[in-house]
Symmetry: C2
Subunit: 320 residues, 2 copies
């Protein structure tokens, strides 16, 4: 079942047709549900599912409060244009409650995963009486889970639960034989807009991975504002990845002529092909200066901005 | 007494002759003492004092453990060349003891000031039976104390103590009518080597001002090693000031293929005329990359290096 479909073997029209049939057969007269994050994988699954099931697929977007500026609205608008209604679930309170007091990056990830699968999406799935849960797992996720780098997306398998037996529904993973380039090819064939493929990678724990220390609503708002400036000014560079990180350390700054301990934002902008190795982008100094000036002007509480100049390794792409 | 001697009014030869006489008259047949930090002000006072008193001036260099690589040795060697013997007092234990557990920058400064004046140098002065204590206070220090920016160097006055009455000695401040440029002119006339004037500013609390959080011997050693790299590679730039800062935040790094939380060094390099306003130096990207590579190679535990791109204000020159 997990036999890879290589780029040479992939015939997108045939793949789509087979998967549509597979989903229809699995769901029969019932309904299905899926969670859309706005990333490429879950977007492709959403369109495939809607092509197979139409209104019998319920697609939900969980607003965890950790998204970038305007992200829930943008995802909903993008899919509305393609005739797909996406339901936004406001779960900000649940996620911030779960993140309260947590500073360890691993514990942060775990809190988000648990809140998503167990508390928020888990509850929606159980109440939906859907027969099938569609998931955007790709072959790389499976490989990375086996290698111990990533957690298995299918949380039930992790918990030793057979969802069919326990909850009465089955998990379907239509993209599990593809890698990222294959998913992109299928997405284009499905008519997904280029904007979606142009988006830079964004980590699973979203903006909570972009704050060192506790992810409070205030601190997430600070890094969200800085992220807006960084994405706006660095989009033109075509870099592999660019991001803003809010530090926990306080540094001395000046406000209205007086000493004041403020916050620091670190900018990273990477050149890379596969994220395994990366070098910082040689950005023009005027652009670096513009980034710093706009961030200190637009983000309350920030008095200092830095640019990361280390390679990966020994650094990593993200700080948390 | 505090009437400024402007650069136009200053006749260095006449100034030196007057101050030598003043010091000789004050000390009479007794002895004097002074603390040499290696900065321009205390260096000029040391040479003036020795010209007036010869071996009757005892000059001590307090090694607080917070100096840059090789600094005590360099200062001793520099003055030995000019025929002045400087006594090094190893007070590293006392300073690190006083700094233990302190993370607040103001408390750090206070701990260093108190350890210096009350415990270490204070004790030496009391035991020395010197009649006069020579201090390198300049007019700018007085102004800044009045404005509340800096603490008065004369700690006894702060404490409401008349040293003459309490300890039997008097404080003499031969440079108190001069500003920095005047002190430099007098220093050159005294034959101080150009190296001393070429040195970039270094803060009073030394490397403890270059670590965010607690200044332990290990953390000071980390920032000391990074400072050596930064000063070596940035000396050629002729920038106003350049420094390395050790952050307290931990960031994800990779060591031997595994995830590891490591430390971050921030580099700052400033263009400024008077330190009131400053802009980051437009360093060539290759030089930034070289700085990062050498720091991660030479400083154990560091996985990430950043360059500060903010202006002052709202930033400040130093972070702590």
């Amino acid at each position: 079942m997990l036999k890879e479909i290589t780029m040479q073997e992939l015939d997108p029209a045939q793949f789509i047709s087979e998967k549509v049939t597979e989903i229809r057969n699995a769901v029969g007269e019932g309904t299905a549900i899926n969670a859309l994050s706005g990333g490429v994988d879950s977007s492709v699954v959403t369109i495939l599912g809607h092509r197979a099931l139409g209104l019998r697929l319920r697609s939900v977007f969980i607003d965890n409060g950790l998204m970038r500026q305007g992200e829930p609205e943008q995802v909903v608008a993008l899919f509305a244009k393609m005739g797909v209604t996406v339901e936004v679930i406001d779960a900000r309170r649940e996620f911030f409650e779960a993140l309260k007091g947590i500073t360890n990056p691993e514990e942060k990830r775990e809190a988000i995963t648990q809140t998503f699968y167990r508390d928020v999406f888990g509850k929606i799935v159980r109440e939906s009486r859907a027969k099938i849960l569609l998931q955007g797992t790709i072959l790389t996720d499976v490989d990375e889970t086996v290698a111990g780098i990533k957690r298995q997306h299918n949380v039930f398998e992790q918990l030793g639960i057979d969802p069919q037996e326990t909850f009465g529904y089955k998990i379907l993973e239509p993209l599990i034989q593809l890698r990222k380039d294959g998913v992109r090819t299928v997405g284009k064939a499905l008519g997904l807009p280029p904007d979606l493929f142009a988006r830079i990678p964004f980590p699973g724990p979203a903006l909570s991975a972009r704050v060192i220390g506790e992810a409070t609503p205030e601190r997430i708002e600070t890094v969200r504002r800085a992220t807006t400036v960084v994405e706006r000014l660095l989009k033109q560079t075509g870099a592999f990845q660019y991001l803003a990180i809010l530090h926990e350390d306080r540094v001395t700054g000046m406000r209205e002529g007086k000493r004041d301990f403020g916050q620091q934002i670190e900018i990273r902008c990477w050149e890379s092909t596969d994220a395994r190795k990366a070098t910082p982008t040689n950005l023009p100094f005027e652009l670096l200066r513009q980034l710093a000036d706009e961030i200190v002007a637009e983000v309350p509480g920030v008095v200092s901005v830095t640019y990361n100049i280390t390679t990966k390794p020994p650094s990593t792409i993200e700080a948390v």
